[in-house]
Amino acid sequence: MKETIARVKEIKHFGRSYCQIKLVIDEELKIEPGQFAMLKPVGAFEPLLRRAMAFYQVSTIKNQTFVDFIFNILGRGTQVLAQMHVGDKVEFLGPLGKNFSVLPAKTTQNAIIVAGGVGTPAVLMLAQELCKEKIETTIFLGARSEADLVGMEDFSQLPAKLFIATDDGSVGDKGFVTNSLENFLKQTLEQNKPFNSVIYTCGPEIMMETTAKIGLKYNLKTYASLEARMACGFGVCVGCVVEIESKQDSSYQRVCVEGPVFDASEVIW
């Protein structure tokens, strides 16, 4: 966790209302897939709180770290970030949170990623790492329409099977990405039993909940990266909690510290 000032290296707008920013930090940071940072333009009085953003891509060159984020411009926080220019300074706290681990997939040698909407950027680094580990990876990406698909150029370059689903059918299967997932699992199980894999998911809550149910149904370990409103991002406000089941009772756990990645079977949706 590092509190520092980053600078905007590149910023571009695309699709319906999406923004991609590349920041440069003057030191080497070790950042894992699924981790996030808290961001706010330097000197911005409104909004007050920094915004949590999952890392999309990270590279380190000569004592500098370049980090990319993709986000949907929705409210005041994302608006001020989207209005920045190259060279502008950004308050940066990160990397934060528990990352996606590829270890469970190393055992199964097979992994499935299910991502939707603005949850998609949070899984690119995971997909890259799974592929680097030579784990057979299948990626399901969902969006409302073609204009809402993010990161396609990067995902399609990976040595992984890629399935697309859109609500309006403008590209890929028409319907929810979880339908495509279930069809895939049915066919795969018919063809080659036994089949074992690990599911990683990030996206709208209903999509992750459905994915978690499918995971339970097919007895596949599922990890979900959750989103929550955060004030601090490093555990002190206890505002971003999610209810997690344990042996005796349930407890509220912080998405920013104990998460954002949770065992989906323990999440009380």
Partner: protein, 318 residues
């Protein structure tokens, strides 16, 4: 360049003495503390700031037993502030004593244990557990909780019940007791006087203002608890006014809290009558703010030729 940026951190080590203060017999190296609920149990900030430079911090509110807290969503940002209804989720007084205090020992900063309860008995139980803890300088009582035995009336909303809790806690507490006042009252002066009369060693004010925010499309409250506590820069004028009013009537020290985000905010509270301040919400969006404020105060002393920060305490000119 704004006034906020003009001042450079003071490098004169002798000047550090200019910020030393004493409250209820406790010496603080400076008057900059952090507010309960915004600083975890202190250790959460060890990687972000040098805790040895901080005057002190107030722990997250502690109850006799661990508390689960409220269902989410618990927070929402509003203009110039935020609403929260965390529900006082905490590890319990025992775990604070056994797990956190030993780790805090190595830091040269004052630990204030914030305590709350839903009945008199709970306050006393928590204090008795904490009395055995090593490394606590003072207690701060959160009296903004509903009393379950009195039909859910908020203890700190009435001078009588506030005084009752203060008296009971003072009888068992082995350390000075700071009472944190709720601003959700008709007369903050009456409340302050009642608590002072009951033996409080110091006052801290203000706690959050009860507020509400509604999503106009779903027509649901934006936080699950429906209402929440408003904090952040938006509440500062209310807090400064209340500190000023209370400073006119009490003799015990006042710790100012409410929307402090920079050294100028802190100075406002000193002029209004506080002799120390607590930083709350700003810790969330500017984790190093406390250190920046200490540096800012040192520079202010130098630029204003103050031999000690106390020269501006309660110094409002009319």
């Amino acid at each position: 360049m704004s006034d906020l940026e003009k001042l450079q951190p003071s490098t004169n080590t002798n000047s550090l003495n200019r910020l030393e203060i004493e409250i209820a017999g406790i010496k603080f190296q400076n008057p900059v503390l952090t507010a309960s609920g915004t600083f975890g149990y202190g250790l959460d900030f060890a990687d972000l700031i040098d805790l040895n430079r901080l005057g002190g911090f107030c722990s997250k509110g502690l109850s006799p037993k661990p508390m689960k807290g409220n269902p989410p969503p618990r927070i929402v940002e509003t203009h110039g502030g935020m609403l929260n209804a965390i529900g006082l989720q905490n590890i319990g007084a025992k775990a604070f004593v056994t797990d956190k205090l030993p780790q805090l020992k190595k830091y040269n900063t004052k630990v204030i244990a914030n305590v709350f309860g839903y009945s008199l008995e709970e306050y006393i139980e928590a204090i008795e557990i904490l009395n055995d803890g090593d490394g606590i300088s003072a207690y701060e009582l959160n009296i903004s909780c509903p009393n379950v035995k009195q039909g859910g009336i908020v203890i700190g909303n009435s001078p009588d019940t506030a005084a009752e809790v203060t008296t009971a806690v003072k009888q068992v507490a082995k350390r000075p007791v700071i009472v944190k006042l709720s601003p959700n009252v008709t007369s903050i002066k009456e409340l302050a006087l009642a608590v002072e009369g009951a033996g409080a060693d110091a006052l801290s004010l203000i706690n959050t203002l009860v507020g509400m925010s509604i999503d106009v499309y779903s027509r649901r409250p934006r936080i699950a608890n429906v209402t929440g506590g408003l904090s952040g820069p938006a509440v500062k004028p209310v807090a400064v006014r209340m500190v000023y009013e209370v400073a006119q009537v009490v003799k015990i020290p006042i710790i100012g809290i409410g929307g402090i985000a920079n050294w100028m905010d802190a100075v406002e509270f000193f002029i209004a009558g506080a002799c120390a301040i607590q930083i709350g919400t700003a810790n969330y969006y500017d984790p190093c703010v406390s250190i920046k404020i200490i540096d800012g105060l040192l520079s202010y002393c130098e630029s204003q030729k103050l031999s000690h920060i106390s020269e501006i305490f309660n110094s409002l000119k009319k």
